[in-house]
Subunit: 155 residues, 3 copies
């Protein structure tokens, strides 16, 4: 019993909470970047949104697709596909009571890889920068999933 | 120890569970709305799906893009990008043992803002209705993230 | 107090951790399938990604849309829209202390339905195979949400 409570109150759980919050906030930042690009470049997905900018142009022409907006959106989508699994598996991982140093290594590598992934996607840096950042993130999550399965396996 | 257990068993955690479940169910409802629009308007993303409606028309012509279906899908995507971070950060926030009234305020404002966001997106209401609903949701989540970081900060 | 701790340490929570991890890993597998299709069919979303394949063709022509890649991506998106709600609601559900057999039934049906959904989407199997797999998954999640609301209702 004390062991379980220790897990939630532990430094591992505090560290998980900190890194998870940072990487979720980073993911949410992509929404603002999309909005910023849409407003400054006048590229909208909905006709009613064109009212947000003063423009002499025909409103309907502002509802279009822009390569830079699509790039930010793909980056956001990639975050959804990778950060959410990290946080969900990381939560279960933190509850398995891993060694603090090992846990910190996982959290730091993942969060670092995802921040670099965003830079690599938006600059864009030449490949395989982004591909490697993506792979490092995935491998970290799989490594945590492996520990969860090894510890909690119950089918 | 008793403190941590109190957190999970607390009214804050019960309230979190209730509001999180409501807003996730609302998000899942968007899947049904997409299916409804696809079936009634005969607009499909996959050739095999055209078998779901009896139609005299050429099946291939039913695989196309429809502005109303895309609007529902963008609304669903916006939910994924905002509701999932709310639930993940809200879970960590509920474990930091916040004041019940403050916590309820956060949960109610977020859930209210997201329900209004959906109405504003699908009606559609004139801007900046939707933009404000989106912002209120984001700010609520950031406010909870701030408390998580202040309480659990461990890098 | 002992009751709450029992919930996290219980067989229900272990089972939840196992099934949730499996279905999240399955969802992450879709990223690799997308990459595999993009690399083998030389279909890219970003100009810089074309450097990942040796190709005589004009690089710009490789940035295009391919029906098979889009199919994998829709399948991945459907996973995001369904697996993430399952894991989030399932976590709260596991903390309500359900009967082990009932909980296992929910987890097994959901995970089975989603694996079948992926097979049905990518083969593709004739409808309504995929529609039924999707529905079974949604109903399982709603059934868990119902128990969470019945147990933890606090507005």
């Amino acid at each position: 019993m004390a062991e379980v409570v220790h897990m939630i109150d532990s430094e591992v759980f505090l560290a998980f909470s900190t890194y998870a919050t940072f990487v979720i906030l980073k993911m949410m930042l992509m929404s603002f970047m999309t909005s910023y690009f849409r407003l400054t470049r006048k590229v909208f997905a909905n006709l009613e949104d064109t009212a947000l900018v003063k423009s002499e142009e025909d409103k309907k022409k502002l509802v279009r697709i822009d390569p830079d907006v699509e790039r930010v959106r793909r980056c956001h989508q990639n975050d959804l596909e990778n950060v959410v699994p990290f946080v969900l598996i990381g939560l279960l991982y933190a509850l398995t009571g891993p060694d603090l140093r090992t846990a910190l290594l996982h959290f730091r590598v993942f969060v670092g890889a995802r921040f670099f992934h965003t830079v690599a996607y938006l600059t864009p840096l030449p490949q395989p920068c982004r591909a490697l950042a993506f792979l490092v993130g995935i491998i970290t999550t799989i490594s945590m999933a492996y520990r969860v399965l090894r510890t909690a396996f119950y089918l």
